[in-house]
């Protein structure tokens, strides 16, 4: 063995220490400059102050809308299954106003839609849509907080003032409809395929039944999935606490680990349900009705005894919209009871225009055969025109106080869906 003490100390130093040559020094300097540049590229905080008085709100409206004119076109971003593919309402609109509409079914999920438009809106760039539909909930609050929405000029919304149901004029998430008016509401309940399921499920417990192992579909959305477990546990989601979320997550984990859940779906649950890949799943009320009408399937939808959540999808104008006047004109057009009735007849979601019910009944009386049956069903359906007793069973989404609380909620439930 060589004794290292006998060796040339310079060699030892050379092997163990890093010598800083001139080149290295330059390199290091360059790297720290790059580091500084990187440090500077943090994303700025963008929260905007909300108007505190009605006078302030009023002036914000005037400031925005002054000088805005009709351009003759509007780009409308909506969800799939939210309009007859033939778009009769939009054709009517173009006939009546001369404004053309490009209708795109580009929104699949609130969170991913928000993530897509947020960087553009933050940079003050157009998102290429003048009107969009977002559900009340986390992303809706963020759009408001970040000042990404146009304050609506209610002088341009006479139909809304005249025809919207009182419930839809006083929604907790947007009091006074400052930024939004409802497109439709809907419930999240259980859909099932009667070909495979003999006893209709009446309780959320059915989705935890081991006999449906591998045949249950749940949603990937953390609010929807959390709500189901909370209803099962007898917790009101709207008033739930972080401790409740943990309990709900444990219940969902149990369901997943027992192999009962086949998959966590986005909007794509309808096809596997009709093909028999899943027998039962979380679903939105109108989707199943539309699938049955368009493809002749015989799927069923139930609101379980424990209750269900009702949500509202809202029309709003992003602040970078190129055609806001055309967009608000279209918004108001949907509050014409005739238009609302024709829309509800097709999509079978809760319409914010109660007067539509009488018009659908009229249409039913005038129709015959299958059409008559379908229209009568729509007019009497608690899924389109819920009674006060129905509303009493329905709960809202949990509103989050701040982003930390929301993040906590999402982390708890995404640990279930992205395992």
């Amino acid at each position: 063995m060589n004794d290292f003490r006998n060796q040339d100390p310079a060699l030892l130093r050379g092997m163990t220490q890093r010598r800083l040559g001139r080149r290295d020094a330059f390199r290091l300097a360059g790297m720290s400059a790059a580091g500084l540049a990187l440090a500077a590229c943090g994303v700025q905080g963008k929260r905007v102050a909300q108007p505190t008085s009605s006078a302030q709100a009023q002036s914000a409206v005037q400031q925005y809308w002054s000088g805005k004119v009709k351009n003759g076109h509007v780009d409308f971003a909506n969800w799939p299954l939210y309009m007859d593919p033939k778009q009769p309402e939009l054709k009517q609109f173009t006939q009546a106003t001369g404004i053309t509409v490009t209708y795109s079914e580009v929104i699949q999920e609130n969170a991913s839609w928000f993530a897509k438009i947020q960087p553009l809106l933050a940079a003050g760039q157009s998102i290429n849509y003048d009107l969009m539909v977002v559900t009340n909930g986390i992303q809706f609050s963020q759009l408001v907080e970040l000042g990404y929405l146009v304050p609506l000029d209610h002088g341009k919304l006479p139909n809304f003032a005249a025809n919207a149901g009182p419930r839809y004029k006083s929604e907790a998430f947007d009091p006074g409809n400052v930024y939004s008016v409802p497109w439709t509401s809907g419930m999240t309940g259980i859909a099932y395929n009667p070909k495979y399921i003999d006893t209709p499920p009446t309780s959320y417990a059915a989705m935890w039944d081991p006999k449906y192992k591998g045949k249950v579909g749940m949603m990937a959305d953390s609010q929807e999935i959390g709500n189901f477990a909370m209803f099962l546990l007898g917790i009101d989601p709207e008033k739930s606490t972080p401790a409740d979320w943990e309990k709900a997550a444990a219940k969902l984990k149990e369901q997943r680990d027992a192999g009962i859940v086949r998959k966590y779906y986005d909007q794509s649950y309808v096809d596997p349900l009709s093909k028999g890949d899943i027998w039962m799943c979380q679903a939105w009320s109108g989707d199943i009705f539309q699938k049955n009408v368009s493809d002749g399937t015989d799927l069923k939808f139930v609101i379980p005894d424990e209750g269900a959540t009702i949500w509202t999808d809202n029309m709003m104008i992003p602040k970078t919209a190129a055609n806001p006047v055309d967009a608000i004109t279209l918004m108001d057009f949907f509050y014409d009871p005739k238009v609302a009735a024709s829309l509800a007849e097709y999509i079978n979601y809760v319409t914010p225009v109660p007067a539509a019910q009488a018009l659908i009944k009229q249409d039913a009386d005038a129709a015959s055969g299958d059409d008559k049956k379908t229209l009568t069903e729509v007019a009497d359906s608690p899924l389109v025109f819920p009674s006060e007793a129905d509303y009493a069973k329905l709960r809202s989404y949990r509103n989050f106080k701040n982003t930390d609380e929301q993040k906590q909620y999402e982390n708890i439930f995404q640990a279930i869906t992205t395992a």
């Binding site: 990187l38 905080g45 963020q142 998959k263 982003t403």
Partner: protein
């Protein structure tokens, strides 16, 4: 004048590609590196705080998904070698005049969009679909049999989608083998198995290496197959990153996970290159 031009030519040749990489690879990578060390949220903004916790949080929370992705990627790569090598061998040595036709057939699936190809598997493998429906009806398969929404479907999808990337480089390596080498082996009384093991296989290894590089890396970080064909407990790290970026907008954790994955893959590749013992393997693979 001529010497100046001769000296500038190489730079002129590399300039477009270098600029392209600088703008579209180096800059975004540095931005991501910065993002991975920031903290904050979308509403209040993000700030650079040397927040190493994103790495710790990301790896501890998504440890399972990272391991699973590496396993799926590795399995898919092995499946592709097993399926692809005989195909490449056959085209190279027995393809005859129609070699280019067979190669075109290998590439044919690429003419269909990646996502569409994966979704078509959904129809094919559907529980009561065209494949399993009849088999279940005649009692060959139990009623609750399924492939969709299992790891098998995800690995199958990965193997299928990246297979041409495996076959092509192996074909190139095999095609370059001088037939006279095989004749020489036979002249020296090597059996067919010996010829294969001692001549063909070693000479084809650079192609296999290139194939592994081109399939293992994208397969490990893929998210389409898992989200279309997977079910519960099949989430890959690509899905997590996609979810963190495009759903949660937790940019720091998403970037930190991307870098962790990149580091793991690089380490894996270098260990593999060393283990294979061919030092010029990257050079050969690049041909």
């Amino acid at each position: 004048m001529r010497t100046l031009r001769a000296r500038l030519t190489p730079y002129a040749l590399i300039f477009p590609g270098g600029l392209w990489l600088a703008i579209f690879f180096v800059v975004p990578t540095l931005v991501m590196l910065s993002l991975s060390l920031q903290s904050g949220n979308v509403v209040d903004g993000f700030a650079f705080t040397f927040n190493w916790h994103s790495y710790v949080d990301g790896v501890t929370t998504y440890h399972d998904q990272i391991v699973r992705s590496l396993l799926y990627g590795l399995t898919a790569t092995v499946v592709q070698i097993v399926i692809g090598f005989p195909v490449a061998y056959w085209i190279a040595f027995k393809g005859g005049a129609r070699k280019s036709v067979y190669l075109f057939l290998v590439l044919l699936p690429f003419l269909v969009s990646f996502v569409l190809r994966t979704i078509s598997w959904q129809f094919l493998l559907s529980d009561n679909g065209i494949l399993f429906g009849p088999l279940k009806d005649i009692g060959l398969l139990p009623q609750d049999f399924r492939v969709l929404a299992t790891p098998y479907a995800v690995i199958g999808g990965l193997s299928y989608n990246f297979l041409p990337f495996m076959i092509l480089p192996m074909y190139v390596a095999l095609e370059r083998i001088d037939p006279r080498l095989l004749e020489a082996a036979q002249d020296l009384y090597a059996s067919r198995a010996q010829t294969f093991l001692r001549v063909v296989l070693p000479l084809s290894l650079p192609g296999v290496f290139a194939g592994v590089l081109m399939t293992f890396v994208p397969a490990t970080s893929d998210y389409v197959n898992s989200s279309v064909l997977g079910g519960t407990n099949t989430t890959m790290i690509g899905n997590v990153i996609q979810n963190q970026f495009l759903v949660n907008q937790d940019y720091p954790v998403a970037s930190a996970l991307s870098f962790t994955l990149m580091a793991l893959l690089l380490i894996g590749i270098f260990v593999y290159a060393r283990a294979l013992g061919t030092e010029d393997v990257l050079e050969v693979a690049a041909r």
